[in-house]
């Protein structure tokens, strides 16, 4: 298996593209850091006994006022920025991946049904997808976040923030998947193996999920990478507006928001470092997605 992978064209073309390799390594480092956050963090920033208010707004280590214990400085509560970033990346990634899982689940089911059944079901579902798509996901997410926060109040909203963000970002982007899956289902439906499956009397559900679905997964894979990046960005935007993760359980977006208030007075590090990590995360996913799309798209032989 490993041998086969090493000889594959996939591995060959990946190795020859320095941008893809570079962004893959960066992404891998970020994910490892996020998953093993408690190991790498120098303190648990959300444990009240570990932080000391006297350390608040310490600048990074290499500046004159810096302290060795906090190499990226501390925020207004005296939390170590490096540790908050690790924990924040974890939450951002969790929400991003969760949202994409939900999007692809909804989108694949709708796309498969629309493509396979055709006719009225198809045109209805695609109309709904069009409308949903024309309201951008940001707008939908911001509106629903605002409504829910108004309904529950800030304190209770904080408790449901993670599942809600996954739900709202996942729910607003499913048409991307539905359209992609439908397009490939329409192409697959005409092929002989589907015909054969139908002739031997398999139920439509089985044909849809066991026979057609696996053949439509390539484009799904391609949009998934970009969608993870988008979901992470949406979450950051929502948190920045105060509609996302609360301050005591922050994602990268809420870290940026919490630093924003101290930004003008010169404490740039509270905002800059989480921002940098966010950009690195999104950029590496996007670059990897770009490479994957070019690789899997046979129409596009690059000049």
């Amino acid at each position: 298996m490993w041998q086969k992978f090493k000889e594959s064209y996939f591995w060959y073309s990946f190795r020859r593209d320095p941008v893809a390799v570079g962004s893959f390594i960066v992404l891998l480092i970020l994910i490892t850091m996020a998953v093993l956050a408690p190991v790498f963090a120098s303190q648990n920033p959300y444990d009240g006994s570990a932080i000391d208010l006297m350390d608040a707004e310490t600048p990074p280590m290499w500046t004159p006022d810096g302290m060795d214990a906090f190499w990226l400085g501390t925020d207004a509560q005296g939390r170590d920025i490096w540790s908050t970033i690790l924990y924040g990346t974890r939450i951002s990634l969790l929400i991003g991946l969760g949202a994409v899982a939900l999007q692809s689940f909804l989108g694949i089911i709708v796309g498969l049904t629309a493509g396979y059944k055709g006719g009225r079901v198809d045109s209805f579902l695609m109309r709904v997808a069009d409308v949903q798509l024309s309201f951008s996901s940001y707008m939908v997410a911001i509106f629903f976040g605002a409504i829910l926060q108004a309904a529950l109040g800030v304190a209770r909203y904080a408790d449901v923030a993670v599942p809600f963000l996954i739900f709202v970002i996942g729910f607003s982007e499913w048409p991307q998947y539905a359209r992609t899956v439908r397009a490939s289902v329409l192409a697959e439906k005409k092929k002989e193996y589907v015909e054969a499956a139908r002739v031997i009397g398999l139920r439509p559900m089985r044909i849809m999920f066991r026979h057609i679905l696996p053949n439509t997964l390539t484009p799904v894979l391609v949009i998934s990478t970009v969608q993870v990046a988008n979901a992470v960005m949406s979450e950051a935007a929502l948190s920045f507006l105060g509609l996302g993760m609360p301050v005591n359980q922050p994602s990268l977006g809420s870290l940026i928001k919490s630093g924003f208030a101290y930004f003008m007075s010169g404490s740039w590090w509270i905002t800059l470092f989480p921002g940098l990590v966010l950009v690195l995360l999104v950029l590496s996913i996007n670059l990897l997605g770009d490479w994957l799309r070019d690789f899997l798209n046979p129409k596009l032989y690059k000049d």
């Binding site: 309201f135 951008s136 940001y138 108004a150 507006l241 996007n286």
Partner: protein, 325 residues
């Protein structure tokens, strides 16, 4: 063509119907207008009387019809913070947002077209590569981070440009406070509009480049070259004109994204527009204003989308034929 328009308008009406239900739902379930009016020191019987008087005890359907009727007449309730009708508040804030969108749309158009064309014509030049590389980096930086960076560099460090607010605006015509009338006010719009365009610009550069590359490979462009026409003329008149169609549709559809980004940009720059007002309304739980913003933006959005679709249908017959079942 007529059938196409009817279908589009019907779709728009359905969407507006859904918007009205959501707006009504929020209004119906959150906030007790009676308590807002009379406070808490009023007996239950009197409250009931008020409820009857305000029609809050009517069946939901009746209340919904009343809500829609009022909304059609421009009455979306009163904002409890501003103590004014919500529509009035929104109309007062709208020019700020529209000017911001206008300024960044200008930036996007005047930068993306030349850069996109250049990158398509000379894909291998280092400048084109730089632009394309920069555009993917640009897409990956959230708009609020761009805004923060701009503020840090141009306002905090260099002191060149103001960092927040609209500055000394003056009346362009009654009801429209403008930033375009004086240099002092204009300085305030520079950073927000650059920040707002920072997401659209890379998207449009990539889109124009992709369309242009495709068009440049078509027969008629090759033929125009073979005929010995002036290369610039071929580029601008023959090729570029045909890339406009998809660009315009995408541009129309981007409106929703643009609205979301104005919320973000206005929050960072404390720009006194609709987006900033919306976030403030959320923080103050100003339900009436929240609902009014939702309905206002939703309707604006549906109208623009429908118009863009109909124009597209007029220009491109393939759309209206393929839509027919």
């Amino acid at each position: 063509m007529f059938a196409f328009i009817v279908r589009r308008v019907a779709q728009a009406l359905i969407v507006m119907f859904v918007i009205s239900i959501i707006g009504f739902g929020i209004k119906y379930s959150f906030g007790d207008p009676v308590r807002e009016m009379v406070g808490i020191n009023v007996s239950a019987a009197e409250r009931e009387a008020y409820r009857d008087q305000l029609g809050l005890n009517d069946p939901i359907l009746v209340q919904w019809v009343r809500f829609v009727k009022k909304a059609v007449h421009g009455d979306l309730g009163r904002s409890f913070f501003y103590r004014k009708p919500a529509t009035e508040v929104i109309l007062k804030k709208a020019p700020a947002t529209l000017e911001l969108v206008f300024a960044s749309a200008l930036l996007v158009i005047f930068l993306s077209v030349p850069i996109g064309i250049y990158a398509a014509v000379k894909p291998r030049s280092w400048l084109a590569r730089l632009f394309m590389g920069a555009s993917i980096v640009g897409v990956s930086i959230p708009v609020f981070l761009t805004a923060l960076l701009l503020i840090y560099v141009f306002a905090v460090e260099l002191h060149w440009l103001p960092s927040y607010g609209r500055g000394p605006t003056s009346l362009l015509f009654p009801g429209w406070e403008s930033n375009f009338t004086s240099w002092k006010a204009f300085r305030h719009i520079i950073l927000p509009s650059i920040a707002l365009s920072s997401i659209m610009l890379p998207l449009f550069i990539r889109l124009i480049r992709a369309e242009m590359v495709e068009v440049l490979q078509t027969e008629y462009v090759k033929f125009a070259h073979a005929k010995g026409l002036n290369p610039t003329r071929v580029l601008m008149v023959h090729a570029f004109k045909n890339t406009l169609l998809p660009v315009i549709t995408v541009g129309g559809v981007q409106l929703g994204i643009m609205i979301a980004y104005t919320i973000l940009t206005e929050t960072v720059f404390q720009w006194q527009g609709m987006g900033f007002m919306f976030i403030e309304a959320v923080e103050r739980s100003d339900t009436a204003l929240l609902v009014a913003y939702l309905v206002f933006v939703g309707v604006l959005f549906v109208i623009v989308n429908t118009v863009v679709d109909v124009i597209y249908g007029l220009v491109n017959p393939m759309v209206r034929v393929s839509g027919r079942k």
